[in-house]
Symmetry: C2
Subunit: 302 residues, 2 copies
């Protein structure tokens, strides 16, 4: 099964209460792709600038990510700079330099239009819509978005949402998009916009799946130390879709594989905050993944 | 099995984004006792002032709460006044009028010194310690506390904690008490202070049990509407202890009954925010409790 992701490959400058890291590898597509791999056939559609290091592309390739959809353009790579508060949840964006991202139009390599699964990471809804047209018949389309697009491009976003199977956002985004405070109401309102399932991410408080006919609440794995949570949400999405791809689930499947995918997603995402950048994800082993799945079972089943 | 609770019986003036209610029935012991009942033998130790309405005492008595430990003193009842933010989580305390609570020393009625379960609601640790001495051999002692006591009477609190089986606090209190950001670390640090189990309440994000040799994360029930969350935490404690009492669990029991008690606690507490004051709790029926237990199963088991 093939999973196509479109989103950013970027450099992040991250300040935490303890440390500052300049221009480390980041971006939604980067985290998603590494999280969904290495077993799945993960196809990345992104743009990088002249400054993007070959070693970073190599790292993705070595981890099984197909980079045929990654374009190198004149200019600088997308650069995000942010500072985490003491709670490691709240963060201030200090700078967003779009660079080559500003004028980018995703191009889907030949043959990729038949990709099985499509993840539209958080980019302008018109770009997300363009990719949906170029990959017309996936088994499942999952979309992420953010406050910026909800506030400034709502009508474009609504157009795209009508063709999306699963919306995956955080709790504040779900509330902003729906105008509802209760997450149950928010999910219902979002379902009326198109998606038949809604996943609401709540960081250290876990995540909720509002499925076709069931709701699942998964706790986050409790980490002894948080170093840098950047990318955990996109890695959650990567783990989620890899699990669905492995199960061969599609939009008409029962909630069962989606519920299982929530566990896989949580386990995958749990590795991210333990290290800066993608290091935690890359450190995963079969053994540590197995242990965290056991921890999830213990935490969830009374 | 008998459950003794010591804590406040009070009037609360509550402002929510939608409504203001003056001097409605509240207090930790009130919520706890109504939540733990009506099947359990619930014994309340509290003080009320001359203004406390007979109808409110009658309501407790009619719901099976034994009020032999409730003293009426000269002066006014404890009065708390607070305003909830738009998120219904954050709240500002506008006034705390101790009234008869200021000089109160709990007296344990004859025969109650043999109570099976002891819940020390959030009051001055010296009073909590006094009650522990007066009820020397319960099967289990559960204690709640708050930022005020952690900050101003830490050494008294530490003395009391050394004899407590389960500390039940919210996440910010657990962090303040332990000085640790990670809740896993916080629970470990708190266990070193005496309690062998720690329950951390997280409001709409559910609750965590750090047991003897397992961890359980329970989600909160997702409510379509929140009216007034005041008292949900104390009602959680009431549901928790009623479940343990029904199981006959004690401090040396396995984690199993404690894990089950977390579900019962969540179901019980879920009725509170739906109405002002104790109305939601009193509206519970066998049928609605059963439905919410089913919802918990559906939400928790992948």
């Amino acid at each position: 099964m093939s999973i196509l992701v479109v989103g950013s490959m970027a450099y992040d400058t991250v300040e935490t209460p303890e440390e500052r890291r300049e221009r480390q590898l980041g971006g939604a597509a980067t985290f998603f792709a590494l999280a969904a791999g290495p077993e799945a056939d993960v196809r990345a559609v992104a743009v990088v600038g002249e400054d993007f290091l070959d070693k970073d592309l190599d790292l993705l390739a070595q981890n099984g990510v197909n980079l045929a959809g990654v374009e190198r353009a004149k200019g600088l790579s997308f650069h995000w700079s942010g500072r985490y508060h003491a709670d490691f949840i709240e963060r201030d964006t200090l700078a967003t330099e779009l660079g080559v991202f500003a004028d980018w139009h995703p191009r889907i390599p030949d043959g990729w239009e038949n990709s099985d699964y499509l993840f539209l990471a958080n980019i302008h809804p018109l770009l997300q819509g363009g990719v949906m047209k170029a990959v017309p018949k996936p088994k499942l389309v999952v979309l992420d978005t953010m406050n910026l697009w909800i506030e400034t491009t709502r009508s474009d976003l609504m157009d795209v949402l009508s063709g999306v199977d699963v919306l995956m956002v955080n709790d504040s985004e779900a509330r902003l998009l729906s105008g509802r405070r209760s997450l149950a109401d928010a999910a219902e309102a979002i379902k009326a916009m198109g998606p038949s399932r809604v996943v609401i991410k709540k960081g250290e408080h876990g995540a909720l799946l509002f499925g076709h006919d069931s709701v699942l609440a998964v706790p986050a794995i409790i980490l002894p130390e948080v170093i840098d949570p950047t990318g955990a949400g996109d890695s959650f999405a990567g783990g989620f879709m890899a699990s669905l791809a492995e199960a061969g689930a599609d939009r008409s499947s029962s909630d069962k594989p989606f519920r299982e995918a929530m566990i896989a997603a949580t386990v995958t995402a749990s590795f991210v905050p333990e290290k800066f950048s993608v290091e935690g994800l890359l450190n995963r082993t079969e053994e540590t993944v197995k242990l965290r799945r056991q921890a999830m079972n213990e935490m969830m089943i009374p």
